[in-house]
């Protein structure tokens, strides 16, 4: 019942072009030591969709999204089973280098985490590590990314000043810009706007809509309206399980599972 969306898409490689999946999670389980944080997750995430992940605090949203680019590897004592395929390649396999995965899949975190460098260097970082040294390309990318994150106008006069001098909201937008600089295939966002004011939030949301043309986006949010506004699909997590995954319309207007309904309407209650 809860997994209708995925079930209807079995064997994605046989689907037509537009139905292609960027991520296909199959029977994923994850434990923090003894704590079973993700329970038998099955999710197929479509290319160029904005997929929202919602659910109450502690339900495993961050855990799941961190697994998608294997940032979860950094947490000691984590065990997983099941598979996640990124464009039909098993992300847990030895041949698939995490560095490649993370280059193709960008991430924006819940708390802003700029590098202790200048604004410019924060964005140039990704390019530099990837061996791009051409000053002009870097300069252009820095500006483009900052514009993309709706930050350019505020910082254009001080892009060589330390990033730590920015306000919380500005810092988070910088992190988004930093991620955009690499023009990834997928962008994972873990409550990217929870530290942003509405105007910036709006800009970022617009940006997400725009980026969607070219990128697939997976966004964790507990701003239900945000999910409703920007996403094509929504997955509702509860206690480490996917309760329901379907088009955002369905989830918000006629959810199949009563728990989804409770959660959604709790929001609007």
């Amino acid at each position: 019942m809860a997994l209708t969306a995925v079930n209807s898409k079995k064997k994605p490689e046989m689907m037509e072009q537009e139905e292609r999946l960027v991520y296909n999670t199959k029977n994923l389980n994850l434990w923090y030591g003894d704590h079973h944080a993700l329970k038998n997750i099955n999710l197929g995430i479509k290319e160029k969709d904005v997929t929202a992940i919602i659910g109450p605090s502690g339900c495993g949203k961050s855990t799941y999204i961190k697994t998608l680019n294997r940032m979860i590897d950094l947490v000691p004592g984590v065990k997983t089973n099941g598979t996640i395929e990124y464009r039909e390649r098993d992300i847990f396999s030895k041949e698939f280098l995490v560095e490649e995965l993370r280059t193709r899949v960008g991430m924006v975190f819940q708390k802003p985490n700029p590098f202790p460098k200048s604004i410019y260097e924060n964005i140039a970082f990704g390019l530099k590590i990837h061996g791009i040294k051409n000053k002009q390309i870097i300069n252009e990318t820095v500006e483009k990314s900052l514009r993309g994150a709706a930050l350019w106008d505020e910082v254009k006069d001080r892009i060589h000043e330390p990033a730590y001098g920015l306000s919380g909201g500005q810092q988070q937008r910088l992190c988004i810009a930093r991620c955009l600089a690499l023009e990834p295939d997928v962008i994972l966002m873990d409550e990217p706007t929870s530290a942003l004011d509405p105007v910036s939030t709006l800009k970022v949301e617009e940006l997400i809509q725009e980026l969607k043309e070219r990128y697939s986006i997976i966004i964790v949010t507990h701003n239900m309206q945000q999910a409703a506004r920007i996403s094509d699909k929504t997955a509702f997590f509860l206690n480490g399980e996917v309760v329901e995954f379907d088009s955002t319309d369905t989830i918000f207007n006629s959810p199949a599972d009563s728990r989804t309904d409770d959660y959604i309407s709790g929001r609007f209650g």
């Binding site: 950094l74 490649e100 991430m107 202790p116 460098k117 200048s118 590590i129 690499l182």
Partner: protein, 314 residues
């Protein structure tokens, strides 16, 4: 308004009493003063050192001309007929040892620190750090014999022209001795860079090395520089290793393969030696001590200058 007590909890009552009863905290005023006095101790220490050294140095310069002290290229105080007091050979000896030790210890120390903080498992780190810290406490005299009876023979196998006493072997061993200091303090600086910063870099597909070298290392730079300054200072001030393995012949020659004497080993030579009390030789240790003090002072100023330059970069 309703009576304040109506639904006021015990907590509020207690707080109310505290502030209405006049919140005058003498402790808050006294503590900074006490702490300032504590901070003054370190200043007094410096004053004490300067005074201690200056008095006897002045006595020394009654017998020996300052010009000779700074210009003569020979340090030969023990000649009964014609003693020469030119500080240069001792300074040179100190420089040689410090240079070799730094060239050896800084790269290795930083490599180990980076390895422990960025690559090694928590377990390895937890085991290695205390071991290194224990080794930081091994009496340097032990390192001295290690240099003389282990490193020197090994080096002489490779470079037969090396003399029994030379700058290289004690230099390396002084380097080994300061590695734990550099590793331990640099590792602290590296691992105190917040985890989210590290994650930010890794999530962009950077390798551990890129994360470490481009993000973590620059962020920890001031702490790392401090560890290096401390390590190098210990190299300058090291006494026993040099006394044992570098010989005790002050030399103005630039080569590293022959015997030398440093400022510190001269001081220990005289304090444990048989020179007469009240003689010029006896007072000369204070003049050497003073030079050493000025020397380390200059090194430190330089280090602070450099550190400031780096810190301003972002």
């Amino acid at each position: 308004m309703k009576t304040p007590n109506q639904d006021v909890s015990p907590v509020q009552q207690l707080l109310e009493k505290k502030y209405n009863g006049g919140f005058l905290n003498r402790r808050e005023k006294i503590i900074p003063i006490v702490l300032f006095i504590m901070a003054a101790v370190s200043v007094l220490t410096t004053v004490g050192i300067v005074l201690t050294l200056i008095f006897e140095t002045v006595t020394f310069f009654k017998d020996v001309s300052i010009v000779e002290f700074f210009t003569a290229t020979e340090w030969y105080p023990f000649s009964n007929t014609d003693p020469v007091y030119g500080i240069w050979p001792l300074v040179l000896g100190t420089l040689k040892i410090t240079l070799i030790a730094s060239l050896f210890a800084i790269p290795i120390g930083l490599a180990v620190a980076l390895y422990l903080s960025e690559y090694a498992s928590t377990r390895t780190r937890k085991i290695m750090k205390p071991i290194l810290e224990v080794l930081a406490g091994v009496p340097t005299i032990v390192y001295g014999f290690f240099a003389l009876t282990f490193i020197t023979p090994v080096l002489r196998e490779i470079f037969p022209s090396l003399e029994l006493f030379n700058a290289i072997s004690p230099g390396i061993v002084v380097g080994i001795m300061i590695i734990p200091t550099i590793v331990s303090l640099s590792e602290d600086a590296l691992s105190s860079v917040p985890e989210p910063v590290r994650h930010g870099a890794l999530a962009m597909g950077s390798t551990k090395w890129e994360t470490a070298s481009k993000v973590i290392f620059p962020a920890a730079l001031s702490g790392i520089l401090a560890s290096i300054v401390l390590g190098v200072s210990r190299a300058i001030g090291e006494t026993m290793i040099v006394s044992i393995a570098a010989g005790s012949t002050p030399s103005a020659a630039l080569d590293l393969t022959s015997s030398l004497q440093t400022m510190t080993s001269y001081i220990v030579q005289v304090t444990t030696g048989d020179a007469g009390f009240g003689t010029t030789i006896y007072y000369s240790i204070y003049s050497v001590g003073f030079t050493l003090f000025v020397f380390t002072l200059a090194m430190n100023m330089l280090a602070q200058f450099i550190s400031k330059r780096f810190r301003e970069e972002y």
